[in-house]
C-alpha cells in the first residue's frame, strides 16, 4: 500500500508503486459519512516507467491544489465523467453540474495511448509543475465500481440507486456485446474505423500488430460472454446481437421517457454510463451503422446524448460540428474520384515518360530523319551524308 498525498509537499512513495498494486488512499470518514470508493483509475507513472496499475480503494487527497486529468479523447473509450472535483478533502468523480471547478481536465490527443497499450507507451506524461504532480489517467467507469456512491448520486433515493445498478447490469449484458461486435468484429467497421483510429495514435512499429491483437482479445471476450467458442463474424450473430441491443435501447428509452436525465434534473452515474456507451455509437462514422440507425430513431436518447455533449464537452461539441461541415464535401466515395483520377493520370504519365526516355536512351527506339535528308542532299555527297546518318542513328 502506498499513500498518495497530493499537497504542496507532494509525497509519493514511489518505491511501493508497483504494477497492479492497490493504492489504499483512505478517506477520513467524517466528511462523507462513510467509506467512498473511487472508480477505477489507470495511472501511469512515467518516472519509474511503472505502468498501468489499478487504483482502487478510498481516496484521501489532502490537497489545496487541483489535479489535472488527462483523458484520452477519442470516442473509443467511454468518455464518461471526466470532470472530477474536489470537495473539501476528498475527490469524487462525477458529473455534477454545480461542482467547483477545481480540477482541470485536459484532453490529450497527441498522447492518446489506449490503456491496453499504455504499458508500452513511451514519452513523458507528467511534468512537475511547481510542486504539483500531473497524472495521466483515464477515468473509466467500470460498472462494478459504479455501485459505489459518488457525490453525483447523493441526491438519488435508495430505489433510484438500485435502479441504476439494475440498468447498468442490463446494458452490460445486452449492449456491450453488440458494441464489441460493432467496433471490433464487424469487418468493415473494424478495418475502416477502429483499426485506423488506433493505428493513427500508436507509434511505429506498434501500429502494425497491436490493433490486431486487441481485436483478437475482443473476439475472445465476446466468445466467452456468449458462451460459444466457435463464434465468428456473420449475419446471424450480428442479427442476434443487434436485436438484443435494440431491445436494450428501447428499454432505456422507455425508462428515460421525456426527462432530461434518468433521475430528475441532475445527472447521475447512470447517465454517465449510458452516455459513455451510446455516444460512440452515435458519433462515429461507421460504414455498417445499423445500431446507429436504431439509436437515431430513438429521439429521446439522441437528445440525451447531444445534451450531455453540449453541456459537459463543449469543446468536443463544437469540434465535432465543425468536423461535420468540413468532412461533408469529402463524404461519400464519389467525391474522392477527381483527385484520384488526376493522381492516376499523372502517375500514368510519369510512367510513360520514364519508359520512353529509357527506350530512347538505350537505343531501342530511335528517331531518324532519313527521308528528309535524302531528298535535300546531292548524290555526290552521299558518303559524307551516310556518315552523318550513322552518327545520327547512334546519337
Amino acid at each position: 500500500m502506498c499513500e498518495v498525498m497530493l499537497d504542496r509537499r507532494v509525497l509519493m512513495t514511489y518505491s511501493s508503486i508497483l504494477p497492479h498494486a492497490e493504492l489504499d488512499l483512505t478517506q477520513s470518514p467524517q466528511e462523507t459519512g462513510g467509506a467512498q470508493r473511487a472508480s477505477e483509475f489507470y495511472l501511469q507513472c512515467e518516472e519509474r516507467r511503472e505502468f498501468l496499475f489499478r487504483r482502487k480503494g478510498h481516496f484521501r487527497l489532502k490537497m489545496a491544489a487541483p489535479i489535472t486529468l488527462f483523458c484520452w479523447r477519442d470516442w473509443v473509450y467511454r468518455p464518461v465523467s471526466t470532470t472530477a472535483w474536489c470537495s473539501g478533502e476528498s475527490v469524487h468523480a462525477g458529473s455534477g453540474p454545480g461542482s467547483p471547478d477545481v480540477v482541470r481536465v485536459i484532453h490529450t490527443q497527441r498522447r492518446g495511448h489506449p490503456p491496453a497499450t499504455a504499458q508500452r507507451a513511451a514519452g513523458r506524461f507528467y511534468e512537475p509543475v511547481s510542486d504539483r504532480w500531473r497524472f495521466t489517467c483515464s477515468i473509466i467507469m467500470e460498472d462494478e465500481h459504479l455501485s459505489q456512491k459518488y457525490n453525483a448520486d447523493y441526491d438519488l433515493s435508495a430505489k433510484e440507486g438500485a435502479d441504476s445498478l439494475a440498468f447498468i447490469s442490463l446494458m452490460e449484458e445486452k449492449l456491450v456485446p453488440a458494441l464489441i461486435y460493432t467496433f471490433w468484429i464487424e469487418p468493415k467497421n473494424y478495418v475502416d474505423v477502429t483499426r485506423r483510429w488506433y493505428a493513427e495514435h500508436m507509434p511505429f512499429p506498434l501500429n502494425f500488430f497491436l490493433p490486431g491483437r486487441m481485436q483478437r482479445q475482443q473476439l475472445e471476450k465476446l466468445r466467452l460472454l456468449r458462451g460459444d467458442e466457435s463464434l465468428e463474424a456473420g449475419e446471424e450473430l450480428e442479427k442476434e446481437l443487434y436485436r438484443d441491443a435494440a431491445e436494450c435501447m428501447n428499454l432505456l428509452s422507455q425508462r428515460l421517457g421525456s426527462h432530461k436525465f434518468f433521475f430528475g434534473d441532475s445527472p447521475s452515474s447512470l447517465d454517465a454510463y449510458v452516455f459513455g456507451q451510446l455516444a460512440p455509437i452515435l458519433k462515429s462514422k461507421l460504414p455498417n451503422g445499423k445500431l446507429q440507425q436504431h439509436l437515431k430513431s430513438l429521439d429521446n436518447l439522441t437528445n440525451f446524448c447531444t445534451n450531455i455533449l453540449l453541456l459537459y464537452f463543449p469543446r468536443d461539441g463544437r469540434e465535432s460540428s465543425s468536423q461535420k461541415t468540413s468532412s461533408q464535401p469529402e463524404g461519400g466515395d464519389f467525391d474522392h474520384v477527381p483527385n484520384k483520377r488526376r493522381k492516376q493520370f499523372l502517375s500514368a504519365l510519369v510512367a510513360l515518360g520514364a519508359m520512353l526516355s529509357y527506350a530512347l536512351l538505350t537505343g531501342m527506339v530511335s528517331i531518324q530523319h532519313v527521308q528528309q535528308e535524302a531528298l535535300e542532299e546531292p548524290p555526290d555527297l552521299q558518303p559524307i551524308g551516310s556518315h552523318d546518318h550513322d552518327e545520327e542513328g547512334d546519337g
Binding site: A158, S169, K174, G227, L251, R255
Partner: protein, 259 residues
C-alpha cells in the same frame, strides 16, 4: 437461440397446450448439483409453479450435456426442449401463460433490468465462489461435480469446468477480485433488491412475476446451501424483507414439499 429457431419454436409452442408430462431436468440433487445450477433450477420451478403449470423434476447425472445450451435447467415439453429461464419464459408466453402482462412499459423495463442485475451479480458471484475460490472448489465443487464419474474422467471434467469458468470470470473482469469484494458485490445487489422490494409482497404490484421467481431461486438456495463459510448467507440474512419474501414464496408455492 437463433432468430429463425426462436420464431419456429414460438410457432410450434403456440400450437399445443401445456401437457401433463412436462419434465424438468437437473443434475442429481443430493450429490452432484452445485449452488448456481440449483439456484437456476429452483427459479424455473418457482416460475412454473407461479404460472400453475405442472412439471416433474427429474434428476439425471448428464443433465448438463443433454441441455441444448449447456446450461441447467431445461424442460422437456411435448417435443420441445428449452433451457434457461429467459427462453422458458418466452416459451410459456407463446403458450399463453404469462406473469408480466399486467406491467406497463416502464415497469417491464425495470423488471428486465433487475433480472439482468441478478444474473450479472448474484449468479456470477455464485460461480465465482464455487470455482474461483480455491477452498470451495477443492472441498465442494470439484468433488460434487465429478461424483457420478470414475477416475480419471472425474478429474478431467472437474478441472475442465473450473478452467472454463475461470476464463469467463477473467473475460468479464471478475478474475482479479478477491472473495471479500465478491461478498461486497452480493451485499450491494441484495441491498438494491431490498430497496426495490420495500414493503411490498412482491416486486411489482401484488402479483409475482418472473423476477420474483428468479430472486427467490437464488436467495433461497444461498440461504439453504452449505458452503465452506457462512458469510454469504449472513449477508443476505441482514436484509429482513428479503428473508420474509423468500419465506412467503416458499409457503405459497412450495407448501408441503421439502425443498
Amino acid at each position: 437461440m437463433s432468430l429463425a429457431a426462436d420464431a419456429f419454436v414460438s410457432q410450434m409452442a403456440a400450437a399445443e397446450p401445456w401437457p401433463e408430462n412436462a419434465t424438468l431436468y437437473q443434475p442429481l440433487k443430493e450429490d452432484q448439483i452445485l449452488l448456481s445450477d440449483c439456484a437456476s433450477s429452483l427459479a424455473v420451478q418457482a416460475y412454473l409453479r407461479m404460472c400453475d403449470l405442472p412439471v416433474q423434476v427429474v434428476c439425471k447425472a448428464n443433465a448438463e450435456y443433454m441441455s441444448p445450451s449447456g446450461k441447467i435447467p431445461f424442460i422437456h415439453v411435448g417435443n420441445q426442449v428449452v433451457s434457461e429461464l429467459g427462453p422458458i419464459v418466452q416459451f410459456t408466453k407463446a403458450k399463453g401463460h404469462s406473469l408480466s402482462d399486467g406491467l406497463d412499459d416502464v415497469q417491464r423495463a425495470e423488471m428486465k433490468a433487475y433480472m439482468e442485475l441478478v444474473n450479472n451479480m448474484l449468479l456470477t458471484a455464485e460461480l465465482y465462489i464455487q470455482w474461483c475460490d480455491d477452498a470451495t472448489a477443492a472441498e465442494i465443487s470439484r468433488p460434487r461435480y465429478s461424483s457420478p464419474y470414475s477416475w480419471p474422467l472425474s478429474n478431467i471434467l472437474a478441472y475442465q469446468k473450473q478452467w472454463e469458468v475461470r476464463r469467463k470470470m477473467n473475460a468479464i473482469g471478475w478474475g482479479g477480485k478477491t472473495l471479500e469484494q465478491v461478498y461486497e458485490d452480493v451485499s450491494q445487489c441484495c441491498q438494491a433488491l431490498s430497496q426495490r422490494l420495500g414493503t411490498q409482497p412482491y416486486f411489482f404490484n401484488k402479483q409475482p412475476t418472473e423476477l420474483d421467481a428468479l430472486v427467490f431461486g437464488h436467495l433461497f438456495t444461498i440461504l439453504t446451501t452449505r458452503l465452506t463459510s457462512t458469510e454469504l448467507a449472513e449477508r443476505i440474512k441482514s436484509y429482513s424483507n428479503l428473508l420474509s419474501f423468500c419465506r412467503r414464496i416458499e409457503q405459497s408455492y412450495f407448501e408441503g414439499k421439502s425443498s
